[in-house]
Amino acid sequence: MTSVSLNGVSKRYPNGHEAVRAVDLDVAPGELIALLGPSGCGKSTTLRMVAGLEEITAGELRIGGERVNERAPKDRGVGMVFQSYALYPHMTAFDNIAFALTLQRLPAAEIEARVRDVARRLEISDLLPRRPKQMSGGQRQRVAIARALARRPRVLLFDEPLSNLDAQLRAQMRVELSRLHAELGATSLYVTHDQVEAMTLASRVVLMRAGVVQQVGAPLDLHDHPRNRFVARFIGSPAMNLWRGRLEAGAGAGEAGAGEAGVGEGAAVVLGAEAGAALALPLPPAARAALAARPALPEALEVGVRPHEVRLGAPAEGAWRAVVEVVEALGGESLLHCVALSAGGAPAGVRVVARVEGRPPAARGEVVGLSFPSSALRWFWADEEGESLT
């Protein structure tokens, strides 16, 4: 059981591009932590620095408490599953998996046993005599995973290890990896594009953006308490609805005293240029308190709601009226892409995605009523960072 810690680790590529910026991260011994983030945010670069394949420009990397910045990859006790498999094309699957073991000069019998064991777990026993080019993409990916596991490294790095599998196989592999992790106990960093993977496998998730860590926390934590707009939109699928609206101070505004920006009880955010009060969302007390703590009131705020929190009803029922533009029926659930209507009945330019269980309750072109439990609304500053108010 080995800890991994990054202190201010940065990477600047020779062309000047700063792919990773001052990342601080402590991975507890035996923990599996997931790295999430949009394409090009520096996930692979971070893994490669931990592996020793990329020089660390600044900061310190410790594995098991020891500084390893200068250590060669083979001396770090790290195994890695590459995004592109990177199997040895001239070796059979067996030899691919056994390669690291033969380098350690283990006895042939033990090598055989270990390879067979890991192959059985990953359901690739049949493939052992085949070469990479005789396998399908998914099979190659599993061989690559087996290769990394066979070595039983202290630290495991996975770079999108399941990206080429179909949904069924991916679900199955997810369970298997979870089981293997529990057994081997290797400290793991796991890069994935798939949130379900991240949320189900990892005890904590690191969300990166342009080389900078945005938030680290338990999966549901990120989902429920996003630190900023970026996290809010990135976590959860379909993405959270996010709208920018004018802040209207409401009754009691400024009453609390001079120099203090304050908003009254009736304060609300109004969406859509001409929409008027029809598309107003009232601020909850917590948001009002956050505003009060600021020296000046901002002109606008952003407010978001997750598609599954949107409640659909008859046109008369909801807080908003909206017209359904696109319906996506996925079988067990449906997505409705709506455009909210202003008081006058004209589309107000505010798009809302709603997710509902089962079949679509409304067809394209129908008008529906939408409402949002105020506890489901998330409030953000409308500036660059877009931090959460609460």
Binding site: S84, Y85, A100, Q134, R140, R147
Partner: protein
């Protein structure tokens, strides 16, 4: 018309070209060069089989008379087997040394960035640029100074040094195309530079290594001027030196010469067929995504 055979994927060894034109054009292109290659070669065969020493100018590819006497004379000459063995030995060692050094040097030049890298690549080319006659005398001095005159080692050293520059350039070009991730994989698997090179890079480079080996082998196999200059004992001669002795100032024993040339070429042919299987490409297929 037979059905079209589309562009075949990497592991399709048996696909066929598309349509008649596609089938024809490689042939058309190869034709003049094959002729320029084969006509003289057939001439050689014919002269070797003709029981005469004069030069034959008729265009017929068949000799008027047939005999193996030229071969018998060449093989029966004193020291034939000894010199043939020398040739094989020198060429084999040259191939080994040449491939070994050029592979390591090319790998270093391909993968590492060190101060004199560009200079080294340039320096390697310099040797190729001077006429052999001119280089011979300094080379003789060097080899003499090393005490390697009359030694197989001296010849091997010079031949490898002659072959290495081109081999390095060639192998470096190939190494540059190997996907680095595969090497990174091996690094992660705990391979040091040596294991990486021997167990991953070299096996993946078989096609280029085979060409390099052939080139090194032929550098040594056909050469006679340096061999005649460095070796002062007929038992140390390589076979091409012997062969060249059939050619005099004003005349030559063409029959023997041709027979000897065919005998010389036989092992190269054998080597070619041995290496042929290595020369199929696409070895890196399947290693990385895509």
């Amino acid at each position: 018309m037979s059905p079209p055979a589309p562009h075949s994927p990497a592991h399709d060894e048996e696909g066929a070209p598309r349509g008649a034109w596609a089938r024809a054009w490689p042939h058309l292109l190869l034709l003049p060069f094959t002729a320029l290659t084969l006509v003289p070669a057939l001439w050689v065969v014919k002269m070797a089989l003709r029981p005469a020493q004069s030069f034959d100018l008729s265009l017929s590819p068949l000799p008027e008379a047939w005999s193996l006497s030229n071969f018998e004379a060449v093989v029966g000459a004193p020291l034939f087997w000894r010199q043939a063995f020398n040739s094989v030995w020198v060429s084999a060692l040259t191939t080994l040394v040449g491939v070994l050094f050029s592979a390591t040097a090319a790998y270093a030049l391909s993968r590492y960035r060190f101060p004199a890298r560009r200079a080294a690549l340039g320096a390697l080319l310099v040797t190729q640029m001077f006429p052999g006659t001119l280089m011979m005398i300094p080379l003789y001095y060097l080899v003499d100074a090393l005490g390697l005159l009359n030694e197989v080692a001296g010849l091997v050293l010079v031949y490898s040094a002659t072959a290495v520059p081109f081999c390095v350039w060639n192998l470096k070009g190939y190494f540059d195309t190997l996907p680095r991730e595969i090497e990174e994989s091996a690094l992660m698997d705990g391979a040091g530079p040596v294991a990486l090179f021997w167990r991953v890079v070299l096996p993946l480079s078989r096609p280029a290594l085979a060409v390099t080996a052939l080139f090194s082998f032929m550098t040594a196999w056909n050469e006679y001027i340096l061999a005649a200059t460095f070796m002062s004992d007929e038992r140390a001669y390589t076979f091409p030196v012997r062969l060249q002795q059939y050619v005099g100032e004003f005349s030559a024993e063409w029959g023997y010469f041709a027979a000897g040339a065919l005998l010389v070429s036989a092992p190269v042919m054998a080597l070619f067929f041995a290496l042929q299987r290595q020369l199929v490409g696409g070895l890196t297929a399947g290693g990385v995504k895509g």
